[in-house]
Amino acid sequence: MQNSDIDLVNIQFQLNGKPIRLSVRPFDSALAVIRDEIGLTGTKEGCGIGECGACTILVDGKAITACLMLAPQLDGREVQTIEGVAEGDTLHPVQQALLAHGAVQCGFCTPGMVMSAKGLLEANSHPTREEIADALAGNLCRCTGYVQIVDAIEELAGSPRANEAVKR
């Protein structure tokens, strides 16, 4: 993405718990930088215009669509992508719940779905089914019909593991 007539912006932020420094073009999206510059391709692009949620990441713990965020806005923030969610071989409780409920089909929406669910539980560890459905309404899935996804998060929200989910 080098382009000599454009002033690059230097940014630094925490990515999945590690500090990172980059020079980005002012108009690059956070999504493009994460996928193409940093090479973390777990975050997906389904629309590029904020409509599908496939690109959801956590920025300071809040679920954000990375395609609509400018890369310079990452400066100084704490960013988590899907690659930073599991701990080694151990899946995060949100991932574990989705696995147990058969809530993954093609899996293209899955990273974004995990991040949104995680963001929700961090803000509200015991959401109702309606709150879950509303929080995930920005994450489109064409395969699952959402039922098993919402079931998984609902079960997690009703269990003591919800607090564990928040912590991690």
Partner: protein
């Protein structure tokens, strides 16, 4: 299977779907995630005219763009510039004229996507517009502009039996209505993507998001003038397809570009390009006349179907046939006249989409059933029960059904919810009306009246491990897992113990397309055939090694044991070693082609499918008669799948179908030339979903692998008509056009409110 297997209990178990952990961790590579050194980008210059001649094409200005590598037109295509799954009527790059907005005119290759887009914007094309036609009936008139040289008729399918005209004349009640449906976008979450390069053996390798790798291989080889074995297609993780990834979308372009620039080339559609350039669901206009007698039995149907296939055929002919064959629904109808006529227009191409025309037909036949029920004073459940196909019934094509006809069982399965819901439905809020609707469906598994075989191999390696080789593309529905479960059951193994190699044309043979809900039944049978052969060989070897009678042997967890002396046995590894010393092959091929016959071209009579899936949904809705808003509260969905090999997967398919059916019913409409992206095309979200109660009915299919049939498309088919019938119940007025958007529902509601006072005979 009656072989010496102790059931491994792989069947009927909801084992973890293969590859799920990696997907959850973000480790799975989809085609857009691939990157290799030196990769460059291709983009396509597309027509902004619906019908025009290309008068001038001037790429000169593009060439000075930094990073520019080439602009290619049809003249650069080394092979045959024609492709298409059934009719070879598409040009990879158009030669003389464009036939729809989005038609590919030139391929631009550059170092980066940005450079490619910049170069593309500098190409000058001068078009001479031609008159265009956007209505299929108009397209079939003599005055219409000719879109293809052979004319605008894509195809026609007739199904005729008995004397429908006569029967309708003598029927106690006759109902005739016209139904329409819209273009629908597949909206799979992963926009099409691919990456191609030429490997060190001079083979063109294409990694792609696809439902149809072996077909891709043929058409890409043809386009490039290469022998098939010089093209290798590898299916990457595919983010949904629903029929659209049966077509050649990016595969031809990346293949051509890599071939011409001799560098690795990638191409990733934006969502806008996926909307513009890939197939849609066929909009159908269905004139439906049906008759019944006082006893509630159907006497005859007379149906005309007009389909718009847009500028290219894609799977249009398959939709023509399937729509015609399924026009009567899951009912016995002694007298039938169906004519389906599909035409080319200058609209976007319509192709395969989950159900191949049957969801549209079900909207019509299920609305008709409710209308007849009302005329006859029967309940919608009762009229379906009286007419439902059963063992011994003949279908509209004259096929006798001999087993696994679970339509009655699905009606029984939803009956209690149906009754309860009708009692509960009183609404407490003014202007908000509750309604309950029921709808059923039949779906033939596999392609219509033609060969559509699958092949597979199962191999016992020298290390004692079993590997399954299948060309069946898993696009998220879970076929890879189900096929492994079938092999595991046949070999007495735990599914986890089986390795699999899937959908890579270098290592697997064709399983046919992932379409028509065919992979469980057809590829499942091919896998079972291969596994059974291997099983036999293992038994024979073990009998020799153990000096035992074959009948006394059983396969369990990778060893063969003596039943009479369970302490004695021999491992698969020992068997494999011995076999390899003696030169006995341990990789066996399986094959299955369903028992079908072609349909008679004049009458449509024949045996189009070897087996059928059945389903019934009950939808409960709330309609705001002031805003036209419909809220689906609950869907109870009973599906006869023959045998659920992985029940959690089957449930997942049912939820999925309900979501897509809800979209088809209420919100999804692609307006050619207007709809651009997910901003103006809405699919169901988590917040739109009703409670869904899936009910799995298992009426085993004797020819299916362990009794299984299929569920992928059936899941979607009854939802929209059940919602339509529920809305009609709520409003006492019917909507005849899909989707039932706010305006349509409001209009129907207004006509009711004015007739409100007369409304009294609600009870069926």
């Amino acid at each position: 299977m009656s072989l010496g297997v102790v059931r491994s209990q792989a069947i009927g178990t909801s084992i973890e779907r293969r590859g799920t952990r990696a997907r959850l961790r973000g480790d799975t590579h989809f085609a857009a995630d691939l990157n290799i050194a030196g990769v460059v980008t291709a983009v396509v210059l597309r027509s902004d005219r619906p019908h025009a001649l290309i008068r001038e094409f001037d790429p000169a200005a593009a060439k000075s763009t930094p990073g520019y590598l080439g602009v290619f037109t049809w003249r650069d295509i080394p092979g045959r510039n024609r492709f298409g799954i059934i009719n070879k009527d598409q040009e990879l790059l158009v030669e003389r004229k464009v036939r729809c907005v989005g038609d590919p005119v030139a391929l631009v290759v550059a170092e980066t996507e940005e450079a490619a887009q910049r170069a593309l914007s500098k190409i000058r094309v001068v078009y001479e517009d031609l008159p265009a036609v956007f209505d299929p009936e108009e397209a079939l008139t003599d005055a219409a502009p000719r879109i293809h040289e052979k004319g605008n008729l894509l195809g026609r399918r007739v199904v005729r039996r008995g004397s429908p005209e006569e029967a309708l004349k003598h029927s106690d009640v006759v109902v005739e209505r016209t139904y329409t449906t819209s273009f629908v976008e597949h909206a799979y979450l992963e926009p099409d993507a691919g990456l191609a390069y030429i490997d060190h053996n001079d083979i063109l390798v294409v990694h792609a998001s696809t439902q149809n790798p072996h077909y891709d291989q043929k058409d890409v080889a043809d386009l490039l003038g290469l022998p098939e074995d010089r093209v290798r297609i590898i299916q990457e993780a595919t983010g949904g397809g629903f029929g659209s990834k049966l077509d050649l979308n990016v595969q031809g372009f990346v293949g051509l570009a890599a071939f011409l620039v001799q560098r690795p080339v990638r191409m990733v559609y934006s969502r806008e390009e996926a909307f513009l350039a890939t197939a849609k669901r066929h909009p159908l206009k269905i004139r439906y006349k049906s008759g019944a007698n006082r006893d509630g039995r159907l006497t005859a149907v007379d149906v005309t179907i007009i389909g718009d296939t847009g500028a290219y055929a894609s799977y249009g002919l398959a939709v023509t046939s399937r729509a015609a064959v399924h026009a009567t629904g899951p009912y016995e109808v002694p007298n039938v006249s169906v004519e389906a006529i599909f035409a080319y227009t200058n609209n976007p191409m319509a192709g395969a989409m989950r159900g191949f025309g049957v969801p549209q037909m079900a909207f019509a036949h299920e609305s008709q059933m409710d209308l007849l029920a009302a005329e006859l004073g029967l309940s919608p459940l009762e009229i379906r029960r009286r007419n439902a196909l059963r063992i011994g019934s003949q279908t509209a094509t004259g096929q006798y059904l001999t087993a696994s006809v679970g339509i009655g069982a699905t009606l029984d399965a939803v009956a209690s919810r149906w009754e309860e819901a009708r009692v509960e439905k009183q609404s407490t809020r003014a202007f908000v009306r509750r309604g309950v609707g029921i709808a059923s469906m039949i779906y033939g598994i596999g392609n219509t009246g033609m060969q559509n075989p699958s092949t597979a191999q199962v191999e016992l390696g020298r290390d004692g491990f079993v590997t399954l080789y299948s060309g069946a593309a898993d696009i998220g529905q879970g076929s890879s897992t189900v096929l492994v479960q079938i092999a595991a059951e046949a070999l007495g193994l735990k599914p986890d113990a089986i390795r699999s190699v899937i959908a890579d044309t270098a290592h697997t043979t064709s399983a046919g397309a992932t379409s028509a809900s065919r992979q469980t039944y057809i590829s499942g049978n091919a896998v079972l055939d291969a596994a059974t052969k291997l099983h036999n060989v293992i038994l024979t070897e073990a009998a020799m090694m153990l000096k035992a009678d074959r009948g006394d042997l059983e396969l369990r967890d990778g060893s063969v044991f003596l039943r009479s002396d369970p302490g004695k046995g021999v491992s698969f590894k020992d068997i494999a070693e011995r076999a390899s010393r003696t030169g006995l092959p341990l990789k066996w091929q399986g094959y299955f082609d369903p028992d079908t016959t072609p349909l008679d071209p004049e009458t449509g009579q024949g045996r189009p499918y070897a087996t059928y899936a059945f389903a019934t949904h009950v939808a409960e809705v709330e309609v705001d008669s002031l805003s036209g808003e419909v809220r689906v509260l609950k869907v109870t969905a009973a599906h006869d799948v023959g045998r659920a090999i992985n029940p959690l997967n089957v449930q997942g398919q049912i939820y999925s179908g309900v979501a897509m059916g809800l979209g088809l019913a209420l919100m999804e409409e692609f307006h050619p030339g207007v709809t651009e992206s997910l901003k103006d095309y809405h699919i169901a979200t988590a917040a739109d979903m009703p409670a869904v109660i899936p009910i799995i009915v298992e009426d085993p299919e004797p020819t299916g692998p362990f009794g299984a049939k299929g569920v992928g498309e059936p899941a979607l088919i009854p939802t929209a008509p059940a919602i339509a019938n529920a809305v009609a119940d709520a409003l006492s007025a019917r909507v005849y056009n899909l989707p039932m958007n706010l305006e349509r529902v409001l209009k129907a509601g207004i006509s009711v409110r004015s007739a409100e006072k007369e409304k009294s005979c609600q009870g069926y």
